[in-house]
C-alpha cells in the first residue's frame, strides 16, 4: 500500500475520530437533537436516554459501579479543575493539604498553583529517572491535613505509567481522597477505579478516538461518597456538579469510543506495542547515542519518547516535516524552556532539547512505521553531519569538559 503523506504520529496530542464513532453521533445533530434536560417531551427523553447509555459505556471502561458516577465535562482540563478546586473547597474544614507530582499536566499544576494562592498547601512529589512516582513518597507526604492526592495514570510526554493501585491502597488506608488524571492511559493500560481505589478520575474522549470538547470526571458515590463544590453554576445539570446543556452528540460519541476501547482495546494495544517496539529497535540499532526517555516496562504501548543526541528537536521535526510528532525542545515551546517533565526526570538539558515524542495510534499502519523509521534514521544522520557537537563527539572530546557560554 502506498504511503499517504502527511503521516499522523502524535496520538498523545489528540486522535482522529473513529468512523464508527462518527456514525453513532450523526443522528444526534438533527433527527434526535433534543435537550437532555427537557423532561416534558419525547425529544428530551430520547436525548436523555442516549446520554445515560453513553455514561454506562464510559463507566464500564473504567470499572465504575454506576453510570451516575460519570459527570460530563468539556474535557480533561475542566475535569482536573473541578476535581482539585471542587474537592479543596468542599473539604476545606477537614484539611488544606494536597499532594501531586511535578510531572502532572498543566491543568492539574495550575489548579494547584491557584489553590496555593488561596492558602492551600501543595506538596509536589518528584519522579525517578524512569518518570514514575514512588508510592513510598506518597505515603511519607500524607499528613493529618491532607485532603487529596492527585497523580496521573500515564504521562502525556514520556508515556510512563504510575503505580496507581499501590498509591490507591495507601490513600484508602489513610482516608485521603485520590484523584487521577487518567486521560492518556484509559483503554491503553489497565485502569479500574474499583480495584485501584481511585475516587476521582479525569477522562477525555478525544484521546481515545472520540470527539474533542467532551470528557468526564468520575466521582465515586459510595465507600467513600465523594462530595465537591461545583465550579460552574447554572441549571443544576449533572446532579448539581456541572451546569450546562449537555453536548449530546459529543457524549454519544464519547460512549461509543469507550465501548470500542473496551471491546477492541486489548488486541489493538498488543498491535501498537509491536509497532512501537519494532520502531524502537530499528532506530536504536541503526543509530548510536539514542536515549529512550522514561521506563520501558511501565509505558503506554504507543509512546516512543527518544532523544537523538547532538541533534536539536525542532530541526529534527523540520527534517521529518511530513510526519506529525512532538518535541520537548525549547524551540517548540513559547517559553523557550525545554520540557519540565524531562527535566524532572533528570534528563540533561541538551538531551531534553533533542527529544522527540512519537505517538503511535489505532490508524497507523506497519508501512507508516517503517517509512517513519527510515526517514528518522536518514534525518538524524544528515543533521549529525551538520552538528559541531557530533563532530566533537567523534573526535573523542567530552562535551561536558568545555566551558560553554550560556546565552
Amino acid at each position: 500500500m502506498a504511503i499517504q503523506l502527511p503521516i499522523y504520529m502524535d496520538n498523545h496530542a489528540t486522535t482522529p475520530v473513529d468512523p464508527r464513532v462518527i456514525e453513532a453521533m450523526l443522528p444526534y445533530f438533527n433527527a434526535k437533537f433534543g435537550n437532555a434536560a427537557s423532561r416534558s417531551h419525547v425529544f428530551g427523553w430520547t436525548a436523555e436516554e442516549a446520554v445515560s447509555y453513553a455514561r454506562e459505556q464510559v463507566a464500564k471502561l473504567i470499572g465504575a459501579e454506576s453510570e451516575k458516577e460519570i459527570v460530563i465535562t468539556s474535557g480533561a482540563t475542566e475535569s482536573d479543575n473541578l476535581a482539585l478546586k471542587g474537592i479543596a473547597e468542599f473539604y476545606k474544614d477537614k484539611g488544606d493539604h494536597i499532594i501531586t507530582t511535578v510531572v502532572e499536566h498543566k491543568a492539574v499544576l495550575d489548579s494547584c498553583k491557584r489553590l496555593e494562592k488561596e492558602g492551600y498547601r501543595v506538596t509536589y512529589l518528584g519522579v525517578g529517572t524512569d518518570g514514575r512516582v514512588d508510592p513510598d513518597d506518597v505515603k511519607r507526604a500524607i499528613t493529618d491535613r491532607t485532603i487529596l492526592v492527585s497523580i496521573m495514570l500515564a504521562n502525556n510526554e514520556v508515556g510512563t505509567v504510575n503505580p496507581i493501585a499501590e498509591i490507591g491502597k495507601i490513600t484508602r488506608e489513610r482516608g485521603v481522597l485520590f484523584h487521577s488524571d487518567a486521560v492518556q492511559g484509559i483503554g491503553k493500560v489497565p485502569f479500574d477505579v474499583q480495584k485501584m481505589n481511585v475516587d476521582l478520575a479525569s477522562i477525555t474522549a478525544h484521546k481515545m478516538y472520540g470527539p474533542k470538547g467532551v470528557g468526564a470526571l468520575y466521582i465515586r458515590r459510595s465507600r467513600p461518597r465523594v462530595r465537591l463544590v461545583a465550579q460552574i453554576d447554572g441549571g443544576g445539570h449533572e446532579r448539581g456538579m456541572r451546569s450546562g446543556t449537555l453536548n449530546v452528540p459529543g457524549i454519544v460519541g464519547f460512549g461509543k469510543a469507550a465501548d470500542i476501547m473496551l471491546k477492541d482495546g486489548a488486541a489493538e494495544n498488543a498491535r501498537i506495542l509491536g509497532q512501537r517496539e519494532h520502531m524502537r529497535h530499528r532506530l536504536m540499532s541503526a543509530l548510536e547515542e539514542v536515549q529512550l526517555n522514561g521506563s520501558l516496562e511501565h509505558r503506554l504501548p504507543g509512546n516512543l519518547n527518544v532523544s537523538f543526541a547532538f541533534v536539536e528537536g525542532e530541526a529534527m521535526m523540520m527534517a521529518i516535516k511530513d510526519v506529525a510528532v512532538s518535541s520537548g525542545s525549547a524551540c517548540t515551546s513559547a517559553s523557550l524552556e525545554p520540557s519540565y517533565v524531562l527535566r524532572a526526570m533528570g534528563v540533561g538539558e541538551e538531551l531534553a532539547h533533542s527529544s522527540i515524542r512519537f505517538g503511535i495510534g489505532r490508524f497507523n499502519t506497519d508501512e507508516e512505521v517503517d517509512y517513519v523509521s527510515d526517514l528518522v534514521i536518514a534525518s538524524v544522520r544528515k543533521l549529525r553531519e551538520m552538528s559541531p557537537l557530533y563532530e566533537m563527539h567523534k573526535e573523542g572530546i567530552d562535551l561536558k569538559s568545555i566551558q560553554w557560554a550560556a546565552h
Binding site: A315, C331, E350, P388, W404
Partner: protein, 145 residues
C-alpha cells in the same frame, strides 16, 4: 513555527556545511552557544594574505533558524574582507531571513560566531606576526597588539 521560504531553503539546502583545519594559521574558528541552551554554532573562515575571506564553513546544532542563520552568514562572509565582515549585524540576518521575534536570538548567535571567528583569526595572525619579527621583539610585540 511558520518559517519564511528563505529559512526553509537554507535549512533544506544548507550552504557551506563543513570543517576547515583549525590549525591552519589562516583559519579563524568561532564556537558559540551552549548545548544546554539548545544551540551551538561553529563558524570558520579562511583568510587570504590580502585579508579577504576565501572560504567559510559552518556546523550548527540548533533549530531550523539557527541552521539557516549560520548558513546565510557563511554565504555573506565569502569574498568580504575581514573588516567588511565585521560590519555584519544580526538585524541584517533577521531581515534577510524574516525571522520571527522568538528566533531573533539565532541571528545574535550567528553574529557572535562571525565575531568570534574573526577574533580567533586576528589572534593567530598577530601571534604569527610576533614570531616572524626578530626574536628580541617578541616580548614587546605581543602586548602591542
Amino acid at each position: 513555527m511558520a518559517y519564511s521560504n528563505k529559512v526553509i531553503d537554507h535549512y533544506e539546502n544548507p550552504r557551506n556545511v563543513g570543517t576547515l583545519d583549525k590549525e591552519d594559521p589562516n583559519v579563524g574558528t568561532g564556537l558559540v552557544g551552549a548545548p544546554a541552551c539548545g544551540d551551538v554554532m561553529r563558524l570558520q573562515i579562511r583568510v587570504s594574505d590580502e585579508g579577504v575571506i576565501e572560504d567559510a564553513k559552518f556546523k550548527t546544532f540548533g533549530c531550523g533558524s539557527a541552521i539557516a542563520s549560520s548558513s546565510l552568514a557563511t554565504e555573506w562572509l565569502k569574498g568580504k574582507t575581514v573588516d567588511e565582515a565585521n560590519t555584519i549585524r544580526n538585524t541584517m540576518i533577521v531581515q534577510e531571513l524574516n525571522l520571527p521575534p522568538v528566533k531573533v536570538h539565532c541571528s545574535v548567535l550567528a553574529e557572535d560566531a562571525i565575531k568570534s571567528a574573526i577574533e580567533d583569526f586576528k589572534r593567530k595572525r598577530s601571534a604569527r606576526h610576533a614570531l616572524e619579527t626578530a626574536a628580541p621583539a617578541v616580548e614587546t610585540a605581543a602586548p602591542a597588539k
